[in-house]
């Protein structure tokens, strides 16, 4: 029987996030609806507090309350998601205050979304996994529609809701079938002995439905068409939070499933292979001739999920190290990219078309510099973290023998370099189209600085992060 984590320390991060949300609502009621600047600091404090709690709490290799993993694997992802949430809150603060849609619900729901992510990454039981995912999704549906004046925010929220709800129902039905086939509600146990009870067919159908549901969330190939629309419609900081937080958390859950030595994965290998290959070819196809930078970044995030999925295939053999490292790198670079985008955008609408970026390079040196560095990281060029991340991913894929998948990945990476450089070329090699609005949001510059520092640090000195992950590799199943 797996060890049971004693004491209440593992619950601390969740409690801080939940308490934070309530505190924000309480503060809102005290200030009786007048727009006040107190919400941002509170929520930021809670997010960072939760991250710190996860960092300081000594990781016990055990299960908390039968449903939550208190081991290093969950702890790593909690620190990462809390960090990304803090970044998102910082970006959101400056962005929403200047455009007049700063509301307490915005911050509270962000914290709840973070809580959902933590639950999702730490869930050992299907129930908690589903609840975490739902809490994350519901909060995101509302946050995307938060900016009333943005014409397309409503459309993005609606699309995300309709598709997200259908995906959740697929996921739920999949869980039902897997439970029916094995009688286990534990994620790892149910997948491991899926074939013991002679109902392997049902388990396979169930796992397919789960794959479709989660595939939507991390925008794998056939289900990725929503990503560009939602990323373009939603306000830039929200997109930052949506693209980094939710995808990293969902992928953590998928990683947990992959590491459960389940026979299903072996049976599903050709399907997973095709999904990874399809994603890695669909992403560059979508992004290559894309006039809109946000849509390009959306397709590129789908592409990066394709690389991660390739490494997921190799996870049972090569271990979770590379995926966890690349999740951190992906989170940093996407947060940096969308953060820089939100800083560079004028007040009336988000800087989206590539024409808006002309001549930015030298007029807005810091913000454009951050965007340039994040794009280089996305392209996977040394000395940024993108390179070391991609290196580890391909290393794990090749060591597991997926040579042709790695070749497809490399070709997709080559094409991806083109559409990242197109933005760089527009920024630095063309005359500016219009006078850029002066932006002085200290919060967002802090995030950009952290993102750039993270990208370079992980690029040059990945060893410390890797050693943390090596420690977390033998996590409790």
């Amino acid at each position: 029987m797996t060890a049971v984590a004693e004491g209440w320390t593992p619950i601390l991060p969740y409690a801080i996030l939940a308490g934070g949300a309530l505190a924000v609502f309480l503060a809102a009621s005290l200030t009786k609806g007048r727009p006040s600047r107190v919400f941002a600091p509170i929520s930021l404090l809670c997010a960072l507090g939760a991250g710190l709690a996860a960092l300081c709490a000594a990781p016990q290799a055990g299960i908390f309350a039968g449903t939550l993993d208190a081991g290093p694997f969950a702890r790593f992802y909690q620190i990462l998601t809390c960090g990304l949430t803090a970044g998102a809150i910082l970006l959101l603060g400056g962005y929403s205050r200047r455009r007049g849609f700063e509301r307490d619900e915005l911050y509270a729901l962000t914290l709840l979304a973070a809580l959902g992510m933590c639950l999702l990454t730490a869930a050992v039981d299907w129930v908690i996994l589903f609840l975490g995912l739902e809490m994350l999704s519901i909060s995101l549906y509302v946050i995307i529609a938060a900016h009333k004046d943005a014409p397309q925010a409503a459309e993005a929220a609606l699309k995300y809701f309709v598709l997200g709800a259908v995906a959740s129902s697929f996921l739920l039905f999949g869980i039902a079938l897997v439970y029916a086939a094995t009688g286990e509600t534990g994620v790892a146990e149910s997948l491991r002995d899926a074939a013991q009870h002679g109902m392997e067919g049902i388990a396979l159908l169930g796992f397919s439905c789960i794959l479709v549901g989660l595939g939507f969330k991390i925008s794998l190939a056939p289900f990725h068409l929503w990503t560009p629309d939602v990323y373009q419609g939603a306000p830039a900081p929200v997109t930052a939070f949506l693209s980094t937080g939710s995808k990293v958390a969902v992928f953590a859950a998928l990683l947990r499933m992959a590491l459960s030595e389940s026979p299903l994965f072996a049976r599903m290998d050709p399907v997973l292979w095709t999904l990874a290959a399809l994603t890695m070819t669909a992403a560059p196809l979508g992004a290559m001739t894309q006039p809109s930078v946000k849509r390009m970044l959306a397709y590129s995030s789908a592409g990066h999920m394709g690389y991660l999925f390739m490494a997921l295939l190799a996870a049972p053999i090569a271990g979770p190290g590379p995926i966890m490292f690349y999740s951190a790198v992906y989170g940093i670079m996407d947060m940096g990219a969308f953060g820089a985008l939100s800083t560079l955008s004028p007040l009336d609408r988000d800087a989206d078309d590539i024409m808006d970026f002309r001549g930015m390079g030298f007029d807005r040196p810091y913000a454009a510099g951050a965007l340039a560095l994040c794009l280089l990281t996305l392209a996977g060029l040394p000395p940024t973290a993108g390179f070391t991340g991609k290196f580890f991913l391909f290393e794990s894929a090749l060591s597991a023998g997926y040579v042709w998948l790695a070749v497809i990945g490399v070709i997709s990476a080559i094409i991806s370099v083109y559409y990242y450089l197109r933005v760089l070329a527009a920024m630095y090699m063309r005359a500016p189209e219009w006078a850029p609005a002066r932006e002085s949001a200290p919060g967002s510059y802090a995030v950009l600085a952290l993102a750039c520092a993270g990208a370079l640090a992980l690029g040059l000195l990945p060893a410390p992060v890797l050693s943390v992950m090596a420690a977390s590799a033998p996590f409790t199943p």
């Binding site: 299907w126 129930v127 589903f130 609840l131 739902e134 519901i138 549906y141 509302v142 529609a145 014409p151 397309q152 409503a154 459309e155 993005a156 929220a157 609606l158 699309k159 809701f161 309709v162 709800a165 259908v166 959740s168 129902s169 697929f170 739920l172 039905f173 869980i175 039902a176 079938l177 439970y179 029916a180 009688g183 509600t185 049902i202 159908l205 560009p228 629309d229 939602v230 373009q232 419609g233 894309q290 006039p291 809109s292 849509r295």
Partner: protein
């Protein structure tokens, strides 16, 4: 002795697919949400059947949670529906297709 688990799962599967087809085919947002409810309900049936098969109450506990989640989801969904209906005046899901390409 009641029916074999297989039949219960088939019933759930058919119901699930009917809900899915409705969500996919109908253009009216309300009907899509209804289809969604049917899909969630189908999952509930599968859970209850499975919990009977394994003589465990996990499945039934799951059903309770499903209902909670469904309620929350529908609340937000309908709020969003009304919010979009107010802005666009129509319930057709494809009226919003400015974001494309």
């Amino acid at each position: 002795m009641i029916v074999p688990l297989e039949h219960i799962l088939l019933l759930a599967f058919i119901l699930f697919l009917m809900g899915a087809v409705c969500a996919l085919a109908r253009r009216n947002l309300v009907m899509i949400l209804l289809g969604l409810e049917v899909m969630l309900n189908a999952a509930g049936i599968a859970f209850v059947g499975a919990s009977l098969r394994w003589m465990e109450m996990d499945g039934q506990a799951f059903v309770l949670f499903i209902m909670g989640v469904a309620a929350a989801e529908i609340a937000v969904g309908l709020a969003l529906l009304v919010y979009c209906w107010r802005r666009s005046g129509s319930l057709d899901v494809n009226v919003f297709s400015r974001l494309k390409g």
